[in-house]
Amino acid sequence: MAASRRRPKAQTESAPKQAASADEMIKYYREMLLIRRFEEKAGQLYGMGLIGGFCHLYIGQEAVVVGIQAALKDNDDVITSYRDHGHMLACGMDPKGVMAELTGRRGGYSKGKGGSMHMFSREKNFYGGHGIVGAQVPLGTGLAFSHKYNKDDGLSAVYCGDGAINQGQVYESFNMAALWKLPVLYVIENNKYAMGTSQERASAGELHQRGAAYGIPGHQVNGMDVLEVREAADKWVDYIRSGNGPVILEMKTYRYRGHSMSDPAKYRTKEEVEKMRSESDPIDNLKRVLLEGGYVTEDQLKEIDREVKAVVTEAAEFSQQSPEPDPAELWTDVLIEA
C-alpha cells in the first residue's frame, strides 16, 4: 500500500509489518492534527502575551508521540523533557487543562504553578514535563524500576532529544537499565537541532548506537511517518515487556518552529524547513495514505478538522476564562502534610 512505497528503506529497520487498520489510521490522523492545531494556537496565544516565559512547540514531530503511544497500555508511563505539549495530548490529557497551564491559570494541570515545561498527570501516567535537559532519563528509568519492583507488567517510555542524549546521566541510566533489565523504552527524538546546534556539531557517532556498549538494542526509525513509528514501537515494546530490558529507538524527525518562541532560527535555511514541510509532513502524508487507500473521503477529513478545531478553540477559551490562581496557592504543595 501507499504507506510502504513512501518508506525510505535505507534509513529504517525492517520490521514485520502489522498494518494499521483504517480506524487506527484515522485515530492517528486526528491525534496528530490535534497536537498541530493545539500548538499553533499556543503559539498564537503566546504572541498575544497570554502565555509567558518559555514555550517550546512540537509542530512537525507529531508522528513520534502518536506512534509510540499507540503501542502503550494504560499502565505504562510517559516522561519527557520541556517540549512536552504533544506528549500530554497523546497521553489523553485534557487540552483545556494543558492550555490553562500554559496561560498560568487555576484550571491548569499544575494549578498554574508549573507552566509549559512542568506539567504532570498522575491519572494519565504522564510524569512530566522536566525543564532540566536529560534529567527525565534517570527519572524515567526509576519509573521503569518501580514497574519491575512491583512486577506489574508496565513499562516506561522515556523521551529525550538529540541534545539531551549527550548528558552523562543518560549513560548512567542506560547502564543501570541494562544491568537490571528494566522495562524502559528510550525514544530519542532527533529533530536535528539542540536549540541552535546541529547534530553534526554536537554528537559523535550514531545516536541509535549510543546504547551499544551496554548491549541495548538501538534502531533508527522514520519519525515523520506515524505508521513506521507505531510498527517499530509495537515490535520493541513487546520485546521490553517480555523481560528483555531496555531498547533505544532513534526517531528521525524535525521541528518546524524555533527551539522556543523567541528563536529566530538562523542556524538553518528556510529552504530546509520548507522542504521538510512540503515533502515529509507527517499529517499530510497520512492524509494522502488515507485518501489514496480510500479509507476516508475529503468530507470526512474536513469533519475531523472541524472537530479538532472546535476542541482547540474550547481549550483556548477555557485557558483565558479560568481565573488566575488564588494568592493563597503560593503556600500550598510545598510539602505534603504528614
Partner: protein, 465 residues
C-alpha cells in the same frame, strides 16, 4: 468571519517591535504555517506565521513601522466570500475571539498589598508534639550505626515499598557497615548495590518515588551527592509544587556528612546549609543513637523528600536507645540536652557533643549554659530556641559548616526578627573556618569548632573573660 492578525509578542520580554517586512501582500492566499511578515524584536528578527487560513484582506500596519505595540491589529485575513468591508473598523463586525483584545484585562482586582501569610513568615510555629520520652523506661545500649540499621530494618518489615539502594549497601554490608545484615534479611530486590553513578541512582530513586515506592538512597558521603544535587533539588524538592500537588516524592537521601578525620577538602564538607535553604525538602541531622533511630523512622514514613545527614565519627558511639519499636521522633522538634540559665548554645550532629563539653567547661567558670540539639534543621524548631533565648538572653550557634550563609547566620537573623528585645549580647557564631579543609592534622584541628572555642564564645557573649 474576518480574522485580525495581531502584532505578536515573540519573546518573554517583548512589548513592542518593528514591522520590518511584509512577506505576503493584500490579496495573497495564506495557509496555516505560512510566513506573513518579519518583525524585529528586542532580541532578533523573527518571522510571523499564519495560524488561520484565508486571504489577506487588508494590511493595517505598513512595512517599516517602528514601535508597534504587541497585540495591535496588523492585518485582516478573510475567508472565502468575505470582503474587507466586513472587517473595517467602525462596523460592529465581530472580531473573532482568537484575535480579541488581550484577555488578561484589568478587572480592578489587584493582588493584595500584603502577601498571604505563609508558614515561614509569622511568629515561630510550635514544634510537633512528641511522646518520645515515655519510651526511655526500657532502653538498650546501641551504636548510632546499629540504631540506623534497626530503624531501616523495622520500616522495611513494616512497609514492602521501602527499599535501600546505594554504593556497597548490599554485599559489602555498607561502606560504613550501616546496612549490615539487611541484604540477608530482605534480599537483593530490596537491598540494591548500585554502580558508582550518583546522579543516575538519585534520579532513578526519585522516579521510583514518583510512582509510590519509598526509596532510601544512601550516598557513601554527602560530598558525592553534589553529583546528584540536581535531582535532589530540581526533581525531588520541586516537583510536588510544579505539579500542583500531584507528584509526591517519599524518599530519604542519607549518608555521612561533614568532616571525618584527615580526609581533606573533597571529603569533609558540611552541606547542612545547602539543603536547609530548599523549600520542598526536610533536613535532619541527629546526634544521639535514639534520635538517629527515631528520626530515621519518621523520615522513611514521611511523604516528602528528607535529607538525613549522618556523621562518620558518631557511627561508632553508643547511646541508650528505647527497646520499643513504637519509639519514634517527629521531624521538626529540637531537644534541650542540658538546661541552663546564662547562655544558649545551639548545635546539631557531632557538634552537640562539643557543645555539651563546652557547657562542662563553662560550669567550672560559673556559667550555666543551655544546650539545644536542633535535630531537625528544616523545618527548624524556632520556638524552642526563642524560648531559651528569652530566658538566657544570649545565643551561641555551633556548626561545622562554613560561616557564610550558614545555620548560624540563619539563627542570627531569626533572633533579630523574633527575639531582638531579649538579646543582651550579639549572637556569636562558632563555625568551621572559611577555608577548604586542609589535610595536615594540626591544620584540620584548627578549622573545626572545639569545646574550647565554643566556651570562649559563650564567655564573650556573657561579657566574661
Amino acid at each position: 468571519m474576518p480574522i485580525e492578525v495581531l502584532m505578536p509578542a515573540l519573546s518573554p520580554t517583548m512589548t513592542e517591535g518593528k514591522l520590518a517586512k511584509w512577506v505576503k501582500k493584500e490579496g495573497d492566499e495564506v495557509r496555516s504555517g505560512d510566513v506573513l511578515a518579519e518583525i524585529e524584536t528586542d532580541k532578533a528578527t523573527m518571522e510571523v506565521e499564519a495560524v488561520d487560513e484565508g486571504r489577506i484582506g487588508k494590511i493595517l500596519v505598513a512595512e517599516g513601522t517602528e514601535n508597534v505595540a504587541v497585540n495591535t491589529p496588523i492585518a485582516v485575513i478573510l475567508a472565502d466570500g468575505e470582503s474587507v468591508t466586513d472587517a473595517v473598523s467602525g462596523s460592529p463586525a465581530p472580531a473573532p475571539k482568537v484575535a480579541a483584545e488581550p484577555v488578561v484585562q484589568d478587572t480592578g482586582a489587584h493582588a493584595p498589598a500584603t502577601l498571604p501569610v505563609g508558614p515561614a513568615s509569622g511568629p515561630a510555629a510550635a514544634p510537633p508534639a512528641s511522646d518520645e520520652d515515655k519510651f526511655f523506661d526500657k532502653t538498650v545500649k546501641k551504636t548510632v550505626r546499629e540504631a540506623l540499621r534497626d530503624a531501616m530494618a523495622e520500616e522495611m518489615r513494616r512497609d514492602p515499598t521501602v527499599f535501600l539502594m546505594g554504593e556497597e549497601v548490599a554485599q559489602y554490608q555498607g561502606a560504613y557497615k550501616v546496612s549490615q545484615g539487611l541484604l540477608q534479611e530482605f534480599g537483593a530486590d530490596r537491598v540494591i548495590d548500585t554502580p558508582i553513578t550518583e546522579i543516575g541512582f538519585a534520579g532513578l530513586g526519585v522516579g521510583a518515588a514518583f510512582r509510590g515506592l519509598r526509596p532510601i538512597v544512601e550516598f557513601m558521603t554527602f560530598n558525592f551527592a553534589m553529583q546528584a544535587i540536581d535531582h535532589i533539588v530540581n526533581s525531588a524538592a520541586k516537583t510536588l509544587y510544579m505539579s500542583g500537588g500531584q507528584m509526591g516524592c517519599p524518599i530519604v537521601f542519607r549518608g555521612p556528612n561533614g568532616a571525618a578525620a584527615r580526609v581533606a577538602a573533597q571529603h569533609s564538607q558540611d552541606f547542612t546549609p545547602w539543603y536547609a535553604s530548599v523549600p520542598g525538602l526536610k533536613v535532619v541531622a541527629p546526634y544521639s543513637a535514639s534520635d538517629f533511630k527515631g528520626l530515621m523512622k519518621s523520615a522513611i514514613r514521611d511523604p516528602n523528600p528528607v535529607i538525613f545527614l549522618e556523621n562518620e565519627i558518631l557511627y561508632g558511639q553508643s547511646f541508650e536507645v528505647p527497646e520499643s519499636e513504637d519509639f519514634i521522633v517527629p521531624i521538626g522538634r529540637a531537644k534541650i540536652r542540658r538546661a541552663g540559665t546564662d547562655v544558649t548554645i545551639t548545635a546539631h550532629s557531632l557538634m552537640v557533643s562539643y557543645a555539651l563539653a563546652a557547657a562542662e567547661l563553662l560550669e567550672k567558670d560559673g556559667i550555666s549554659a543551655e544546650v539545644i540539639d536542633l535535630r531537625t534543621i528544616r523545618p527548624l524548631d524556632t520556638e524552642t530556641i526563642v524560648n531559651s533565648v528569652k530566658k538566657t538572653n544570649r545565643l551561641v550557634t555551633v556548626e561545622e559548616a562554613w560561616p557564610t550563609c550558614g545555620i548560624g547566620a540563619e539563627l542570627s537573623a531569626l533572633m533579630m526578627e523574633q527575639a531582638f528585645d531579649y538579646l543582651d549580647a550579639p549572637v556569636i557564631r562558632v563555625t568551621g573556618l572559611d577555608v577548604p579543609m586542609p589535610y595536615a592534622a594540626n591544620l584540620e584541628k584548627l578549622v573545626l569548632p572545639s569545646p574550647d572555642r565554643i566556651a570562649e564564645a559563650a564567655k564573650k557573649a556573657c561579657y566574661r573573660k
